[in-house]
Symmetry: C2
Subunit: 106 residues, 2 copies
């Protein structure tokens, strides 16, 4: 795979987030792509929405997903579908990094 | 998510394989689906091919992927793209179960 190094996510509203592409377009992925995220303790991804879905699998650490109307705790082994056009944010716990896979359509 | 229990894979050529659906069509996944596989020590998936790709992420255990012309060792943290129409088989090591996610297009 054309794996990339960990890179800081500089999008506004992100704090302490790194992304690594595990399966990308250069690998010839026909339908969807695989990324690995690390959110440092107390960090968070942008609270945003977009036209495509996320499929997330939590690998390590704890935290929560914030939606427009609620929050849900997440833990290792959890699988989460964020539907298209749904505002969402991943937040790490205060104690340790949150690591998860996040797949997106090509 | 409409997670299913672990179910034995009864396809011919499989030995000691269980599948659990983590994100499926009932969840409204628009593009691709997420499954969790456990292959017991010395077990293997069928040596087969199909018209769709696999995107695999190794969670636990060791083993190898067998292709028509070669084998590749796999370990936790590895991401593997199996292109469409590519013959493949996942084999667990002799010592312990191999656990991986396997995403497929809808």
């Amino acid at each position: 795979m054309n794996e990339t190094p960990d890179a800081a996510v500089t999008e506004e509203g992100a704090k302490g987030v790194k992304i690594k592409w595990l399966i990308n377009k250069k690998d010839g992925a026909p339908t969807f792509l695989m990324r690995h995220f690390t959110v440092e303790a107390c960090g968070f991804t942008p609270f945003h929405s977009h036209d495509w879905e996320h499929e997330v699998y939590v690998l390590e650490g704890y935290g929560k997903v914030r939606y427009e109307d609620r929050e849900e705790k997440i833990a290792p082994g959890d699988a989460i579908l964020i539907p298209p056009k749904t505002k969402h944010q991943f937040q790490a716990s205060l104690e340790k990094p949150l690591k998860f896979l996040c797949m997106v359509p090509k």
